[in-house]
């Protein structure tokens, strides 16, 4: 048995049963990272000693016959905007180079309590701002399926790590598609939960009314397995939803529920706006559901088209406020060249932030500034209401909405960096779910003519992650997409 052929959940079962050792799996993945990651660039930090020590502790528990947590010694990667005490947290920004958080993120505590082995921290677009991971200030990540192409972003390192077999599963964060789009480009599953389902405590803030943490995995079962561990209330995030308002179901058990009679909403004009290979793959995926007994319902979502403008006003406004904390005083980079206290701020920020972060701070500051607030920020909030109402109406009629994750497959490195607006427009399919707060996932549904993966996006009503994962699982059953691997993996 090749340990790399096991899914994360299968590996956990083998370790918990004492048939495999976590230490062996961890050493195997560390060796593989040494060999393969120089060509992929998924990781910013590999937590070698921490991982080996954690693996040993899990093996000792198993040897003593003590109960082990559900993640049972499985090596998992996390995006480097999740705070950890045992490794640096950089957000791929020079302004945080060398920063070590004095506390762990809620999801990190949950992973550790569940006996996961956190093997390293993955690359991202600086502060999660971007769609290609090219905005990282600290490293370059390529797509494991084609090293000339981007892995997507901003969770590009996490998606590339899972696709290339450099971790059995990973966590990412999704503010406007940052889990789903790289999952689509790298041919893995990526789930953005409902806003409020997973605590954001210890996730470095970008757009606080939009940010959500979620799993990136090889299959829907692994996503359910990981969501079981990270979902649930945490008093340290005041937007985290308590169990009495939305109980956390057993997502793994939900995969056994019947789902063949699912009602699927599609917006035909929207689905046909992608490039031809994507349109074809998404249509064929929906036909698979129809053949299994699903009912396909045509919908209109008249405000969906406005999501890009709405998102880039609101997200940059929130970012400009959130990133005010990087002041060169409390932590992070401080300029060596400050004449007075104002220059401590202005020069530290000038030296520490990359171009896209500066652009978004500028856009957001402008949108919130006196004289422009009503025209941009307030208008954005009103359009957000309309976009959410599109989803509310849709979920009165259907169980889920299906569409592409992205209008294209992975694009070439460098292709869009000079034109920020073109990069923003490529987020057309993913932003609305964040604005409406609804859960959405990307599931691999085929390949384009160049052999690059295509993702099908499935969107469900708030807190219906159980239904969402069940629908994704239905598609996986009997297909082999999740077993086809990139050449480097």
């Amino acid at each position: 048995m090749d340990v790399f052929d096991l899914t994360a959940r299968q590996l956990a079962q083998e370790i918990a049963a004492g048939r495999l050792r976590s230490l062996d799996a961890t050493q195997a993945i560390l060796e593989r990272i040494d060999k393969v990651d120089p060509h992929v660039g998924a990781y910013l930090h590999v937590c070698r000693n921490h991982a080996l020590a954690t693996a040993q502790r899990v093996d000792d528990k198993v040897a003593r016959g003590e109960p082990v947590g559900p993640l049972a010694g499985v090596p998992i990667a996390i995006k480097d905007n999740l705070c950890t005490r045992f490794a640096p947290t950089t957000c791929a920004s020079k302004i945080l180079d060398g920063f070590v958080s004095p506390y762990d993120a809620h999801v990190v505590e949950r992973l550790q309590a569940a006996d996961a082995v956190i093997v390293g921290k993955t690359n991202l677009d600086e502060f999660a701002m971007g769609s290609s991971t090219e905005n990282s200030g600290l490293g370059k990540t390529v797509n494991p399926w084609d090293p000339q192409c981007v892995p997507g972003g901003s969770s590009g390192g996490s998606a590339a790590a899972v696709a290339a077999g450099l971790a059995w599963a990973a966590l990412g964060s999704d503010t406007g598609g940052s889990i789903r789009q790289p999952a689509s480009f790298c041919g893995v599953i990526g789930l953005k939960p409902t806003y409020g389902r997973v605590s954001r405590y210890g996730l470095v803030a970008y757009g606080s009314s939009l940010d959500q943490i979620g799993p990136i995995t090889r299959d829907a079962m692994d996503a359910a397995w990981l969501l079981n561990v990270i979902a649930g209330h945490d008093a340290r995030d005041s937007t985290s939803v308590p169990a009495d308002r939305a109980p956390v179901p057993d997502y793994l058990a939900a995969l056994n529920e019947p789902a063949a009679d699912v009602k699927i909403g599609v917006v035909p004009a929207l689905n046909e706006a992608a490039e031809p290979d994507v349109v074809r793959a998404v249509r064929q995926a929906i036909e698979v559901y129809a053949a299994a007994g699903a009912e396909i319902v045509e919908l209109a979502m008249p405000h969906f088209d406005y999501a890009i403008a709405c998102y880039y006003i609101l997200a940059t406004a929130e970012a400009s406020s959130n990133l005010a904390r990087y002041d060169g005083v409390h932590y992070g980079h401080r300029t060596a060249d400050a004449g007075d206290y104002v220059q401590v701020y202005t020069r530290s920020r000038a030296e520490g932030f990359g171009p896209e972060v500066k652009r978004r701070i500028m856009l957001g500051t402008y949108a919130l500034s006196s004289g422009y607030y009503d025209a941009y920020y307030l208008k954005g909030l009103k359009v957000r209401q309309l976009i959410r109402s599109d989803f509310t109406s849709a979920f009165n009629r259907v169980d889920c909405v299906m569409m592409p994750v992205a209008p294209t497959t992975a694009f070439k490195i460098g292709e869009k960096v000079a034109d920020p607006l073109q990069m923003y427009l490529a987020d057309m399919y993913t932003l609305a779910a964040n604005l409406a707060g609804v859960p959405a996932l990307s599931i691999p549904c085929g390949f384009d003519g160049r052999g690059l993966p295509i993702g099908l996006q499935v969107i469900c009503a708030p807190f219906a992650e159980d239904r969402l994962l069940r629908i994704a699982r239905l598609y996986e059953e009997g297909r082999d997409w999740s077993t086809r691997r990139p050449s480097c993996g």
Partner: protein, 102 residues
């Protein structure tokens, strides 16, 4: 056609954002931000006069906790990442002039 945002406005926004930008960044941002702001005009196709703004996508309730002391970061932990410190303080350049009479 006039740009939505000119170099003078870029300078003024940069001051608000406490960002020092180079001349070439100011030029580049004026063009790029204008293109994005131009695109934002698309929202004006929608009549939102009767629409309530939505700040949060899910119903948000005030969250209270008991006002009881809890463990927090120690001084050493809080200062652990400080670029410059002096004893138990974050160190910054002098803010008030000697002549300011403060």
């Amino acid at each position: 056609m006039a740009q939505k945002i000119d170099v003078e406005q870029v300078r003024s926004v940069a001051r608000l954002a406490r960002l020092e930008l180079s001349e070439s960044e100011i030029e580049q941002f004026a063009g790029q931000l204008s293109a994005v702001l131009e695109y934002f005009e698309k929202l004006n196709e929608l009549d939102t006069s009767q629409v309530e703004p939505l700040a949060h996508c899910l119903p948000i309730h005030n969250v209270f906790r008991d006002d009881t002391p809890q463990a927090s970061l120690s001084t050493e932990e809080a200062l652990g990442n400080a670029p410059q410190r002096s004893a138990d303080y974050f160190k910054v350049p002098k803010i008030l002039d000697d002549a300011s009479g403060a």
